[in-house]
Subunit: 329 residues, 3 copies
């Protein structure tokens, strides 16, 4: 789109408009860099000062912040400005796509037994193997592989380089050599799931690896075989979930975090970035485990002391004993 | 396959059958969810209670556990049930593949100077560059790249998105700019090596990066230039091995672990998941280094104290001195 | 090339030759394994003993080390032997490429609106989407995706599997579901940038993700949306940079390190491998934060004590108080 009137926006997404419905919006922009004709939003109160100085023609605000926007040409009042903003970006994207994309790019390799819904979109150089099912309105960007027998639900978005259904990492040991365990399960992905570039979800050993509705996975994430991820859980980049882990619904896993195999995370568990989950977390809450970064010299000294921490603890215990004895005597 | 008789299985894989050789197996399944007609296995004693309640028609067990399976229609007795199970999955997979796959998918891009063994299988949209060699029965899934001059042995399996032989990360500094060091070596991969989806093995700077026979590498693993990985070592997902590291044979590296450059790991070294190897480990054994995860509040307090750990150690030393003086006086 | 005379080398790259300009060099090799006819280099004094015993015909040395090379057939004296070596590898590579590569491999999928400089090289099975610009002499290896509207400067090298311009990870929460924020920005990459295999750089939410000139990024690195990376910064494998982080120029980020979102790193900040940057680092210097690896038993005891570290600190404080009281009394 070149522009959009505020009236059109309100008609599509709701909200209360204060200002002229004919105002033309020519761009979506952050508060700090917005100019005349731009639409912006204020979700977090800490940016209220930016609202005061913005040149945006219209800002999306909550009822509590509406008065702060009184000096602007217009504002849209809505209880959840950030979600409203998200929907605005979707509308903008929808209006911008004047080019009709081919449903299946001719360079994609699709097995004859795969069932791809007519409204799904398969990008260039994707591979869709035998007996795969891809649901309505789901989109594979470019160079995505969906291996044999895997299922993708509706309204999913899989970014470039994603690999769904490679073999899980399963071997038995015999005479100190590894004997491959064929991975006979598949992957089942629900609806409204997004998976980031170059991420991998392995097929199950016997049963399926399962990703429920509304899960959002960032780039370069590894999901091992037989993992189960509950609905509406989100995982940031570079996360690794080892085999057979069971992650609840509404969880968030910070970037670079690792969850070891066969563990369970309850619903609403939040793991901080780069933390390593070494035991099941059965209670909702925020969990962390990261070595604090420091200048190299300080880190070096503290890390050296850490290797003696258990001894230091014993020495404290000894001191307490001695002192108690002393005071008694 | 739709089914397989136990007689056929025993004929192919050995083991002692207790029960009727004509029993039809219609599925491989875990103990807990197996039903009539299913084959399962018991390897770890902790699942013995599941054996008692399983509905499987046949279970693979060790001699010690054979009596626990007496109530079943049949059992197969073998000293290493897990390895036997692995071979059963391979047989099952082999029998299921009635479709004969093309040796080289027509969408793959193979340089005319590459030597691909007639029994090797190259999947869709793979790239095999000049002077590559691929050995007998090796299989490239889809979208695998093997760069110029690299060698893949026999019976290897490279999953989708793997990149073998991209340039190692080598630069010299000149006037604070980076000058590229061309990577003139290649990658040599032995036999029976498996490499997971989207993993990378970089080519050597002058000599080759080497992966010996029987090595198993999971998804999203990074192997730097001039690394040497000894035979039958296994690495879980998201591991990073920096340049010129030398990993022994029969090692295991847990998911997300990092090995720094130029280090050496002896044979039979086992690194726990997410641990960072900062010095060579010349003695076989298990090594770990992970910050324990905790509820966020506790972590925060302990992490803050950790930044003063060296000072705390000095204070303990001081206390010990004072107390000794006290007790002397 | 089969060989190269030292005279030719000096003519191309400068430096002072001690020895016969007609000496034929047949291979570049490390000091330790070089034989007759090979060229090698000595940059770090710790390898001076290897210089003494090398069989190389010529070694590149600094003026300070030139006398140590007096016993060789020839040596090249230059103030920065490692940078000279880097340029030698480049010359060698250039001379070896007798085969003229096609500018754009016929299997690549290039949108008609993309502008690819005639001197750029697009490898097999790459995807270049609408409105992309690729500058002079830049090279995409194989299976690289450049998404809509992204710009690649001059003399860049993007290795196989790289994904530039996938959607940033942006969602608003509404009724505990995630609402996608369309990523309307793009990615702008400067000149002389190298990006390793299977690495990802996400497109910005509204404005562009920016990578400045001379940045070098290793394999399997994740760069989130709206990140800004200053010129000549280098990042080793498996690094993750979360959204909106701002990394200065001339920084180095060690393998597997993580930088959290919205943080800032000043110029010349160096982050050790596997460290997690949880706050902005506004002062140049080296920073670390890694749990020291130990044998599993020791680690286990120290990690357990670490979970009580704050309590231990309180006990030390208590001991100090008691002792002070004691000594006063």
């Amino acid at each position: 789109v070149d522009s959009l009137t505020l009236g059109h926006l309100i008609h599509e997404l709701g909200g209360v408009l204060r200002g002229d419905a004919n105002t033309q919006i020519t761009r979506l922009a952050p508060l700090a860099s917005a100019s005349k004709g731009h639409l912006s939003f204020l979700s977090h109160p800490q940016y209220a000062s930016q609202l005061k100085n913005t040149n945006a023609s219209c800002v999306i605000v909550s009822p509590e912040q509406a008065d702060l926007a009184a000096h602007l040409t217009a504002c849209i009042v809505t209880p959840n400005p950030y979600a409203y903003w998200a929907k605005t970006t979707q509308l903008w994207r929808r209006l911008s796509q004047n080019e009709l994309k081919a449903t299946i790019h001719p360079s994609a390799v699709i097995h004859s037994s795969a069932i791809v819904h007519p409204s799904a979109e398969i990008g260039p150089l994707c591979v869709v193997e035998a007996d795969v099912q891809i649901g309505a309105r789901s989109r594979l960007a470019s160079r995505v592989t969906i291996s044999e027998g895997c299922q993708i639900g509706e309204d999913c978005l899989l970014h470039s380089g994603v690999v769904i259904g490679a073999d899980g990492f399963g071997f038995a040991k015999e005479n100190s050599h590894w004997v491959k365990i064929e991975q006979l399960g598949a992957v089942r992905i629900g609806n409204q799931v997004e998976i980031g570039a170059n991420s991998c979800v392995d097929r199950g050993a016997l049963e399926d690896t399962v990703i429920e509705d509304g899960v959002k996975i960032d780039n370069l994430v590894q999901i091992g075989h037989n993992v189960h991820i509950g609905a509406h859980t989100a995982m940031a980049g570079c996360v690794g979930i080892a085999g057979s882990a069971r992650i609840g619904a509404y969880c968030t896993i910070g970037g670079g975090a690792v969850v070891l195999g066969h563990l369970e995370l309850a619903d609403h568990v939040h793991v901080s970035a780069a933390s390593v989950v070494t035991h099941s977390l059965m209670k909702a809450g925020q969990y962390s485990g990261v070595f604090p970064i420091d200048d190299n010299r300080s880190w070096h000294k503290n890390a050296a002391s850490l290797k003696q921490l258990n001894t230091l603890r014993e020495r404290i215990k000894q001191l307490e004993k001695s002192l108690a004895y002393d005071q008694r005597s």
